[in-house]
């Protein structure tokens, strides 16, 4: 499709093509850089689409960490882009009530609800020929769904779930480089900048969990393979289309430790988790991240059976690192048990 663009932009085709590729590349965390060629046109456009899909999932899915992330890519010698992403999320997952028998089987089950709302802002500041420009992507997303947790022993359970995620993603490009000032209209017409699109995502997952009681401490091992299928609709530009598949597997170890210290009748608890999330499909290529590690610590007060359905209230913080990404998050840590 970029080849057609070159036809339209014949007088300045080489320079324009280079600039547009540079622009697109600046929107992506990692991609190749070379002269424009027909077989690369689809790749470039797919790159934008993968990026939209990935940001929607990163911003809207409760399973992936929120926070402030920084990633950088050296696209080619002399051309680097810095990406800053800030993600605000509120949501979580929980099992409702106590396990109840599943028919005559020695299996317990309980309903499971999951939900999330998120907002993501990602700012790319390209260098090189587009130095001075900035490209901002904003994503609003809301996610809800559920399933059931099945206990096959007192310690081991598995929870198949299905969620739906709605997202709205838009791009706003600020041109300050002389080149993009001259070509912004064309880039907009091509759907490379200043677009918006709505997306829906179907999210089946299976959470495997093993609980170990060690004294009064609770250690939970979990593995969460998740699949995402995303499609776009209501696009502001017919050239921007989304239809992709992603996946992730998060392996986590969580410790919940009572500290034997009471504050106003509530016991202080500490703990946290260490997780590693492998990304697959468009999520991996769109973010340019193969895996993310997260270490989380929390200090909370136990409110279970003392204040509505609140299990604990406190503060928590995470540090995230992985291939081509670092980030952190801090905030209130609240857990409920229904």
């Amino acid at each position: 499709m970029i080849v057609k663009v070159c036809d339209r932009l014949a007088p300045s085709c080489p320079l324009t093509a280079i600039a547009i590729v540079a622009l697109v590349v600046s929107l992506l965390p990692v991609t190749g850089w070379c002269q424009i060629a027909p077989d690369q046109a689809n790749e470039i456009r797919a790159g934008i689409e993968n990026r939209i899909e990935a940001l929607t999932i990163l911003g809207g899915d409760f399973g992936l960490a929120g926070g402030s992330f920084r990633s950088s890519s050296r696209l080619q010698p002399g051309l680097t882009t810095q990406v800053q992403s800030d993600i605000s999320k509120g949501g979580g997952a929980g099992d409702v009530g106590d396990p109840r028998p599943l028919g005559d089987l020695d299996i317990g089950w309980q309903p499971r609800l999951q939900g999330n709302m998120g907002y993501l802002e990602s700012t790319n500041r390209p260098l090189g020929v587009l130095a001075g420009d900035s490209s901002e992507v904003a994503t609003y997303a809301i996610e809800f769904g559920g399933g059931a947790r099945f206990w096959v022993s007192d310690r081991f359970s598995l929870a198949p779930t299905l969620m739906g995620l709605y997202g709205h993603t838009s791009n706003e490009y600020t041109a300050r480089s002389s080149f993009m000032i001259a070509n912004l209209t064309r880039a907009t017409q091509l759907g490379l900048v200043d677009w918006s699109i709505d997306t829906w995502t179907l999210r089946p997952a299976l959470d495997l969990q093993y609980v170990i009681n060690w004294g009064r401490s609770i250690i939970t091992l979990s593995s969460d393979p998740t699949y995402f299928h995303t499609e776009g609709f209501s696009s502001s530009n017919s050239n921007v289309r989304i239809n992709g598949d992603s996946g992730s597997i998060a392996n986590k170890i969580d410790a919940d430790v009572p500290l034997y210290i009471e504050i106003y009748g509530h016991e202080l608890r500490s703990g946290g988790y260490l997780s590693r999330t492998e990304l697959f499909g468009d999520l991996r290529s769109g973010l340019g991240v193969q895996h993310m590690n997260e270490i989380h610590g929390r200090l909370v007060l136990d409110f279970l059976n003392q204040f509505w359905k609140v299990q604990w209230i406190g503060v928590g913080a995470s540090y995230v690192w992985g291939t081509n990404i670092t980030g952190w998050t801090a905030g209130a840590d609240v857990a409920f048990r229904f």
Binding site: D106, V152, F156, P204, S223, N251
Partner: protein
């Protein structure tokens, strides 16, 4: 374990994602460890908690005078004696009305009238026993008969929760203080519930 993974994979339509997921599951050390753990976990089975089981421990009093607070369901006031600071409450579904002492911290006792629907917070003391056929062996040789009110249904020593099941099937979950020996208590233990006094009383419309 295998069927679980298979059911997930069936939902994946993109062959590349399938390949990545499968290879990660197969190759990843953590995933292999998980498979092993899950296989071991499957060796057991889940059983619903049943309070009527006979505890295996030796008969004894595990702990008495365990202070808890119970928030009752809505009850009807049958009589009030403000001078003696007592009230008689009847809870629909219970066999009989019960007389309670009202604590000094309840300041609205004068406003309570016969026929009011009220909800009360009652301070209670629990005594948890391991009994054999309702009897507690005594040092002298003559077993002491203990009349119990409930049995232990669930113990969460981490969050200090003790759930009791009463003969009518009703369950109550209590938060106990951290000096309670929950680690010695088990499902099926017998419990004597002794009301102490009402510590809060609220009229419900």
């Amino acid at each position: 374990m295998a069927p679980s993974w298979s059911s997930h994979v069936m939902l994946i339509s993109n062959p590349m994602v399938i390949e990545h997921c499968l290879s990660a599951m197969v190759r990843g050390g953590a995933s292999i460890a998980w498979l092993a753990v899950a296989t071991l976990a499957l060796a057991g089975c889940w059983t619903a908690p049943v309070a009527s089981v006979q505890p295996k421990d030796e008969p004894r009093l595990i702990q008495g005078a365990i202070a808890v607070e119970l928030l009752t369901s809505v009850a009807i006031v049958r009589s009030v004696d403000a001078a003696a600071r007592s009230v008689v409450l009847f809870t629909p579904g219970d066999p009989a009305a019960v007389t309670y002492r009202v604590g000094r911290e309840v300041r609205n006792l004068g406003a309570i009238k016969v026929g009011d629907a009220v909800q009360a917070a009652i301070a209670e003391e629990l005594a948890v026993y391991v009994l054999r056929d309702g009897r507690l062996p005594a040092p002298g040789g003559v077993p002491q008969v203990i009349t119990t009110d409930a049995r232990v249904l669930f113990v969460d020593s981490s969050y200090r929760l003790l759930r009791l099941q009463f003969p009518n099937g009703r369950t109550e979950t209590f938060k106990v203080n951290r000096h309670v020996r929950l680690d010695q208590m088990a499902v099926g233990d017998d419990v004597v519930v002794q009301p102490v006094e009402i510590v809060a009383l609220r009229v419900r419309k």
